[in-house]
Symmetry: C2
Subunit: 248 residues, 2 copies
DNA sequence: CGGGGGGTTGATCTCCTTCAATCAACGTGG
DNA sequence: CCACGTTGATTGAAGGAGATCAACCCCCCG
């Protein structure tokens, strides 16, 4: 546990995969040079904890590759995922010292980290970083509110369908594929992680996935490989507007 | 329905109640003068809808007095509250045209509105507004994530206790009262609004409030006036760390 | 071969929903 | 001033969706 891998080979921002979506997306050449001086890469193994709730945070940063989760835990062990971090997503809050949530790598993970203090100074000097961060935070807030509807009001079946729809949608946009045709992707989460995401038990997750499979809403090969024959059907099952009630 | 009250008497920013907490809290004299030129006040009656989901939003603004809610509704009528807006809280998203949620006044409400386009321009020119808005948005995101734990993992009794704790805490800080002594406040929400907040039915809310009352966790006078003899006890019931696991 | 992690399935239980009756407070018009 | 309707709230009885407890499977890996 907690064995950090060797640092990944630093890359040039110019050829960075997440360059156009991350906090740095608005930066000009000069600003990138400044960021370059305070940045470093870190890698984590699948299952490794990036940050414990309550830990001192000496850095902030972006997910470059892989997936991480934010989770909250109650004293008796109940846990709720409160964030799902995909490539280009930002970790950490400028201006706060302690991590409020556990950050865990669910797959192998590479992060582009910035030392916190210099990053905060830069935010004050150049508006481009702060502007982009505001935009990203507002997007996250929207996602969190969508998620609240799922947690508070949807049935187990609808919750699963909603999660599948979110993953399918993301995957499709990433691949620039159409949502009209059938969508194929791999689940990046275990049944247990899904249950933490949706406020269910892993048994219920398993049962509902089986049910959706039996009803032909999804096709499964193995445990993780999913095909969605009709995205429209899936969205119906999720209880969403068929014409896409999602926010931008 | 939808009858707007006469506009409240405009006030000077200098004597504004929410001046030190709202989006404008970082602004200097000059910036306040600029804001003054694009601002206007609007009043709403309790129960009135400020904004319908999907509506064009031509303004953003701050709650000055009163309480408003953000709610999402599914086609079949299930609703989930996703935001509780108290004085100084901000409504609207710069850069977006359509309202993503219903905004409803639950009490009589006064808002300090800014015309959207000029406000967006101002955000680009002066960093103080954008900085404060980022801070506020990050706080809201934290609150949303706390809320997600409540919705996803807490029992009905814990949910009620959590909501009461949140309101008690806010009230205490507003009045600068200590949390050690007993806390007294009025519930700003109906049973139904509480159920929408917590992802429960109003019957369950009613039952659990009765139960907490019977067990001496709270004392009720009438339906709305609440006394909390021991804040520590209430937090235990909420499933929270007794030493206050809340984020700043 | 043994062991463990991830997953599925079954039986039972329970907490919350659902449906429904009742109540108190309030306003309104006859 | 009282009957009536309305709105918010409480309480009861019944049913169900999902949790809990438990057995078992599959597959990979040491």
């Amino acid at each position: 546990m907690s064995v950090e891998l060797s640092v990944a080979a630093p890359r040039d921002c110019g050829e960075c995969q997440i360059r156009h979506r991350a906090v740095c997306s608005r930066c000009d050449e000069d600003e990138l040079t400044q960021l370059d001086q305070i940045k470093y890469y870190r890698s984590f193994q699948a299952g490794q904890t990036v940050l414990w709730s309550g830990d001192q945070m000496d850095f902030v940063g972006s997910v470059v590759t892989g997936i991480a989760t934010l989770t909250q835990t109650m004293e008796d062990g109940r846990t709720q995922m409160v964030g799902l971090l995909l490539p280009s997503d930002f970790v950490g809050r400028p201006g706060r010292g302690e991590a409020p949530y556990d950050v865990v790598a669910t797959t192998d993970l590479v992060m582009c980290c910035f030392r916190k203090k210099p990053f905060e100074n830069m935010m004050l000097r150049t508006p481009h970083v702060a502007q982009r961060l505001l935009e990203m935070t507002l997007d996250e807030l929207d996602a969190a509110r969508e998620w609240m509807l799922v947690l508070g009001r949807k049935t187990a079946r609808e919750k699963i369908a909603s999660l599948l729809a979110i993953i399918a949608r993301r995957d499709a946009t990433l691949k620039l594929a159409s949502l009209d045709a059938k969508v194929v992707f791999d689940l990046p989460l275990t049944r247990e992680a899904m249950s933490d995401y949706l406020g269910l038990t892993l048994e219920t997750v398993s049962r509902q996935i089986s049910a959706l499979k039996k009803d032909g809403v999804i096709v499964l090969e193995g445990k993780r490989h999913v095909t969605v024959p009709s995205m429209e059907r899936l969205l119906e099952e999720a209880g969403d507007d068929s014409d896409g009630g999602m926010v931008s």
